[in-house]
């Protein structure tokens, strides 16, 4: 267990492509940090640099109190879970889990004990003598977890470990991984492109875009106070509504519809509001036209037009709406304003 510190870590490839711009952040001991972003944002590259599978072009990386820039992956005291499991196909589950320990000259009896404990924890005991090809996707994922757990590392690294699983299993494994991490208290870095995974698992989320950190924060901070329009539209399904608005005389207005008090300079701004921070009802003040109602069982999503701009509203399952004109109002406290040009929160 250890804290991890990245100090101006940069990745630039020989062809001049800068995959990660100088990036710094610290991870506390036992913390679960999720790196999230669209594909090609540099999140995997960052993780692979921490693992030692990619060279660090510039900057300093330390795990615990030790600078590990030039330490072999095997000596970094880390364990990694890969997207496609990366199990050794010719080894049994037992050998797959124990292989790392064997290479650290752990006595055979101790390896067996640790493998048994890990297998029990992951419900793999009856599969120990099987080869990976005889296991289902979820079981393979558990073996990969077992391989990580058994090493008792200072740091867990997860590279999109759930993206090969079907939706139901993904949900289940998400909870299992989180529970396991809580129990073991091992510092973890988890890479995913799935914002739901990020929201549900993280102590802290780091949102990356084009090799750059957009925002670092707790899931609630990221969700409710996005630092940029990128974060606002990437996190949340459906994403935050972003409306073209205008500031003048201490108020921000969207055409003839929304109007909220805000201390901003006069000129164009972007107004962000989450779909669930909009209310509907006959007494509300803003007219809105519903085009499509998306039925999701537990709730409904209303897609429509607000003065010519697309807007989505989240309503509870008991609110019956059909396409056509309705009235809505927004919660002014939930509004987030962004600079119209840079997209950064004001």
């Amino acid at each position: 267990m250890a804290q991890v510190s990245l100090n101006n870590i940069r990745k630039i490839y020989p062809n001049g492509y800068e995959a990660v711009v100088p990036t710094s952040f610290d991870i506390a001991d036992g913390e679960f940090v999720v790196l999230v972003g669209p594909s090609g944002c540099g999140k995997s590259t960052l993780l692979r640099m921490v693992a030692g599978l990619e060279d660090i072009s510039e900057g300093a990386l330390s795990i615990g109190d030790r600078n590990v820039n030039h330490v072999d992956p095997a000596d970094r005291d880390i364990a990694m879970v890969f997207q496609n499991y990366a199990l050794y196909p010719h080894m049994t589950v037992r050998k797959n889990i124990g292989y790392g320990l064997k290479n650290r000259k752990t006595p055979a009896s101790e390896i067996e004990d640790k493998v048994q404990t890990a297998a029990k924890m992951l419900n793999l005991t009856e599969y120990l003598d099987r080869k990976p090809s005889q296991l289902s996707g979820g079981q393979r994922q558990r073996v990969a977890m077992g391989r990580a757990v058994v090493r008792d590392p200072a740091l867990f690294l997860f590279d999109e470990p759930l993206s090969n699983l079907d939706a139901k299993l993904r949900h289940q494994m998400r909870i299992e991984i989180k529970a396991l991490q809580r129990r073991l208290g091992v510092t973890s870095i988890y890479v995913t492109h799935d914002q739901v995974e990020a929201m549900t698992m993280a102590d802290r989320i780091i949102v990356l875009n084009a090799g750059r950190i957009e925002q670092i924060g707790t899931p609630a901070e990221i969700y409710h106070r996005p630092a940029s329009t990128f974060v606002a539209s990437f996190m949340g399904a459906p994403p935050m509504n972003l409306l073209t608005a205008k500031g003048s005389g201490g108020r921000v207005t969207v055409g003839e519809t929304i109007s909220v008090a805000a201390e901003v300079a006069d000129g164009p701004v972007t107004l962000g509001i989450r779909p669930e921070d909009i209310e509907i009802g006959p007494t509300c003040d803003i007219p809105f036209t519903v085009d499509i109602v998306e039925e999701l069982g537990a709730h409904r999503l209303l897609h429509g037009q607000l003065g010519g701009q697309e807007l989505t509203i989240h309503v509870g399952k008991d609110v019956v709406v059909s396409a056509g004109p309705i009235r809505m109002s927004i919660n002014p406290d939930a509004v987030v304003l962004f600079d119209a040009k840079s997209g950064l929160a004001l």
Binding site: L53, D72, P73, A74, I78, F82, A86, L87, N103, S133
Partner: protein
């Protein structure tokens, strides 16, 4: 799974016919002829033949010369197979690690593949030329008086060397593609699990190459036994004398030089059985043994 079928019974037979005809004319008919003549003693001048039963085979089992050549063939096969596989594996592992100029490096290594066996043998002749061959010079510089075609061991050494040289590229291509088909993440997992590259190779890479290796083993044994004819022929210059030769070459020497068609046929039949055994071994053991994913 549903199988596609033919509407009429004659169409598939018709489509197979050309291939079957070729196999029949160029393989089954000569093979049958060889089996038949192995039971006959043929007049050297072609004036007829007499049935002798198993005499030709019995003669072979009693022949010390045949035993000696069989032993040499086994040794030759083991050496050629081992060294061409080992060298190719080494080169493939090294080439796999090369990033810059990888294509050039690989192409250069594969080039030899295009050299025909007799040409390879001829190049061997040049390299080991008694008066100016660079390899003879090299041998001389370490005090080895190399005499190709005169000294049995020297000739055998040259035969092994040229045969290995000729076969390495084929193995190299297979090993390299085998290495590249090992998932990158499995190697990376090994990188985290084991510090020593030696351990990673023997514990992870090598077992995953085993299917390729088994396949190549059979291919190489077959090569060393049969396809080295051109190399042997060129290096012994058609003058076997005291020189080493393989069983396949002896078939040729006895049959076409010695005009002993019966004895030569008996030898080919023995070799046919050997090939059959190898093929069965490959299908039954190897094909079934290792399959991942």
């Amino acid at each position: 799974m549903k199988r596609a079928g033919f509407a009429t019974r004659w169409l598939p037979i018709l489509l197979l016919l050309p291939q079957l005809a070729i196999i029949a004319v160029f393989f089954y008919w000569p093979a049958a002829h060889a089996v038949k003549s192995s039971f006959y003693l043929e007049d050297p001048f072609g004036f007829g033949s007499s049935f002798v039963g198993f005499d030709n085979y019995i003669h072979l089992t009693g022949s010390s010369e045949y035993g000696r050549i069989a032993k040499f063939t086994v040794l030759f096969t083991v050496l050629v197979t081992f060294f061409s596989l080992a060298l190719a594996l080494l080169l493939a592992v090294k080439a796999d690690n090369v990033i810059r100029g990888a294509k050039t490096y690989r192409t250069l290594l594969m080039w030899v593949y295009a050299v025909a066996p007799p040409v390879a043998g001829f190049i061997g002749l040049l390299m080991f030329n008694q008066s100016w061959g660079p390899l003879t010079e090299l041998a001389k510089s370490i005090g080895w008086d190399f005499k190709l075609g005169v000294n049995f061991n020297d000739t055998a050494f040259a035969m092994v060397l040229v045969s290995v040289w000729k076969q390495v590229p084929v193995n190299f291509i297979f090993f390299l593609s085998g290495l590249q088909s090992i998932p990158k993440s499995v190697r990376e997992a090994a990188l985290i699990d084991a510090k020593s590259s030696f351990r990673r190779f023997w514990d992870v890479t090598f077992p995953l190459l085993a299917p390729t290796g088994f396949f190549l083993l059979i291919i190489n044994i077959t090569y060393a036994l049969f396809d080295t004819f051109g190399v042997v022929d060129t290096l012994v210059k058609g003058e076997p004398g005291n020189n080493p030769m393989t069983l396949v070459y002896k078939v040729y020497v006895d049959g076409f030089r010695g005009n002993d068609m019966g004895g030569s046929s008996a030898q080919s039949v023995i070799l046919m059985v050997l090939v059959l055994a190898l093929t069965v071994f490959q299908f039954r053991l190897v094909e079934r043994r290792i399959h991942y994913t």
